[in-house]
Symmetry: C2
Subunit: 188 residues, 2 copies
C-alpha cells in the first residue's frame, strides 16, 4: 500500500499498472490481486489509509494547541511538514478524487469531516473575536490550495530554481502565514 500510494501520487492511478507496481515490489501482479481483489480494491484501500493518515496527522498537530491563531499556525506547520515528509499523502488524495464517480464521492466523504472541522474552527474564531470576520470557506480553500498546489506542481518549483525541501517549505510556510495573518488578524 505504501508503494501504491507513492506510485498513484507520482504517476497517477491510470499511469500505474499493477504489473509495474508488482515489479517494483519484487512480487507478481497476482499477489497484489490476491490481497486487494482488484485494482479498484487497491485504490479503495489506499484512499482509506491516506485519508485516515492525513486526519491523524492534522489531529495530532492541533492536539493540545489553544484555539485561534496558534491552531492555524499548527495546522499550517503540519501541512508543510507533510508536504515535505509525505508528499504522496496529499498527492494520492488529489489523484483519486480526480478519478470521477464514484471515487470523488468516496474521497469527499472521507475528507468532509476534516473540512467541516476546519470551517467550524475558523468560524468559532471569528465569532470569538480571535479572527477578523470573513468567508471561512474562501480562506480555507485558498490556504489549502497553496499547500496542494506546491505538492502537485513540484515541476513548477523547479522552473523557479527551487526544490520542495525543508528550507523552501519553511519559506512557503512563512509566506502562507503572512497571508493568513493578514486576512485573519482581528482589526485593532
Amino acid at each position: 500500500m505504501r508503494a501504491a500510494t507513492v506510485a498513484f501520487a507520482e504517476r497517477g492511478v491510470a499511469g500505474t499498472s499493477l504489473d509495474l507496481l508488482a515489479a517494483e515490489l519484487g512480487v507478481t501482479k497476482q499477489t497484489i490481486l490476491y490481497h486487494f481483489g482488484s485494482k479498484s480494491g487497491l485504490i479503495e484501500a489506499v484512499l482509506a489509509r491516506a485519508a485516515e493518515d492525513l486526519a491523524a496527522e492534522l489531529e495530532a498537530a492541533v492536539a493540545g494547541v489553544e484555539a485561534g491563531w496558534p491552531s492555524v499556525e499548527a495546522v499550517v506547520r503540519a501541512s508543510f511538514g507533510l508536504a515535505v515528509r509525505r508528499p504522496e499523502l496529499l498527492g494520492v488524495l488529489r489523484e483519486i478524487a480526480r478519478l470521477g464517480s464514484p471515487w470523488s464521492e468516496s474521497a469527499l466523504d472521507l475528507l468532509q469531516p476534516l473540512v467541516d472541522r476546519a470551517i467550524v474552527a475558523l468560524n468559532d474564531g471569528m465569532d470569538a473575536g480571535l479572527f477578523q470576520s470573513g468567508d471561512a470557506r474562501l480562506i480555507l480553500v485558498s490556504a489549502y490550495a497553496v499547500v496542494s498546489g506546491v505538492v502537485a506542481d513540484s515541476e513548477l518549483l523547479r522552473a523557479m530554481g527551487m526544490r520542495l525541501d525543508l528550507r523552501t517549505a519553511a519559506g512557503l510556510r512563512r509566506t502562507l502565514l503572512s497571508f493568513l495573518g493578514a486576512v485573519l488578524a482581528p482589526s485593532r
Copy 2:
C-alpha cells in the same frame, strides 16, 4: 487539439486513450495519428499551444497596465478568469509537466519566460519601492499555487459546497488579492 487539451486536463494523459478521444470527435484514431504522428506528437502540440495561449492571455492582461500593484491585480484577475473560462489551459500544463522526462523539461522551457518575467516584475517593484521587499519567488509560487490548486482540486471545492463559477472565482480573487496586498504593500 481542443478536445485533447480538455481530455488531458480532466482525465490525465495516461488516462486518455487515442481511441476514446477519436470517438469523442467522431473520427478514427488513425485520423489523429495522421495529423500528429504519435501520441507524443499530440502531447507536444497540445503543450506548445497551451503554453502559447497562456502567455498570450497573461500578456494581454498586463498590456498597457502600469507596473506595480495594478499589474499584480491584472494578472490575478486574468488568472482566475482563465480558471473559470478555460480551466483546461492550466490543467493540461500541470498534467504534462507531471509526466517526467522529457516532458517536464519541455514544459519548463516554455513556461520559464513567464516565470522570469513575473519575478523580474516583482523585484523591480520592490526596488522601486512599489512593493515591500521579500522573496519574489516565494510570493509568486504561493500565488500561483492558489490558482493552480483551485483548478486542479475542483473536487475539494465541492466538499466545501462550492463550485468554480464566476462568483466563487471573484471571492477567491479578492482573498488572494488580500493575501498579496498584505505581503506586497509597502510599509508606511
